[in-house]
Amino acid sequence: MNIKALFFARIKESVNYSTEDIALPIGVDTVVALKEFLAKRGEVWADLFSGKQVVRVAINYELVDDIMVLNEGDEVAFFPPVTGG
């Protein structure tokens, strides 16, 4: 399954880019599985995605919980808690 990942704010600075097209292995089909997959990429990624930090996720512009299922072509955004207003 192919998704488009977006990173914002502190997370964008940590991973050092804002957009990435990712081909997911079979079995990585939920937000929680995707976070586990990303956490294996190295220290920076493990810090972000292994549960130590609060990382919010939006799929196709909608905030979602970690149990949400992914679909082909989804735009999946990762960002810290928002601070507008």
């Binding site: 914002f8 704010a9 512009y61 955004a77 928002v82 507008g84 207003g85």
Partner: protein, 153 residues
């Protein structure tokens, strides 16, 4: 129901006047104007930079406005939120709600602000004498949103 996300400043007085005189069924116009403060968490702030998630920001604000309109009998609403680099005393945001009576306008305006604070994808980075830093989300903003879930109208 108007939403604008922009780098330019806005004329709050002109926006409010236009909204108010649009209908003589409006008896109450409640609004919130947010501005950049010069000190945050004890440090002097020289600039504040707002990043957002284009595409999601507008949808998020539209959903919040729609929820406010479903909950309260309001005539119109307006959200203007700036992005980019701002300085102390710069306006950040204007949220305005017009209704026949004041109760609805007060509640809906505060509701929109409380939801915007925890749902709309904006992030603030401030430049201070001790360097740049991302502004941390506040627990009290979550508390402010959560209380609406138990409110009946």
């Amino acid at each position: 129901m108007t939403i604008r996300v922009q780098t330019e400043d806005f004329d709050a007085g002109a926006e409010l006047a236009a909204m108010r005189v649009a209908s003589a069924s409006i008896g109450a116009l409640v609004n919130f104007i947010g501005q950049v403060r010069d000190i945050n968490d004890g440090d002097t702030v020289s600039t504040l930079t707002l990043e957002h998630y284009p595409g999601m920001t507008e949808r998020s604000l539209e959903a919040i406005e729609a929820e406010a309109k479903a909950r309260w009998d309001i005539v119109s609403s307006l959200i203007i939120h700036r992005v980019g680099t701002l300085q102390p005393l710069d306006q950040i945001v204007l949220v305005a709600v017009a209704s026949a009576h004041r109760g609805e306008a007060f509640e809906a305006c505060e509701f929109i602000m409380d939801y915007l604070k925890v749902q709309a994808p904006f992030w603030k980075k401030e430049s201070t004498l001790v360097g740049e830093r991302w502004v941390e989300a506040k627990t009290r903003d979550n508390d402010a949103q959560v209380r609406w879930k138990s409110k009946n109208n």
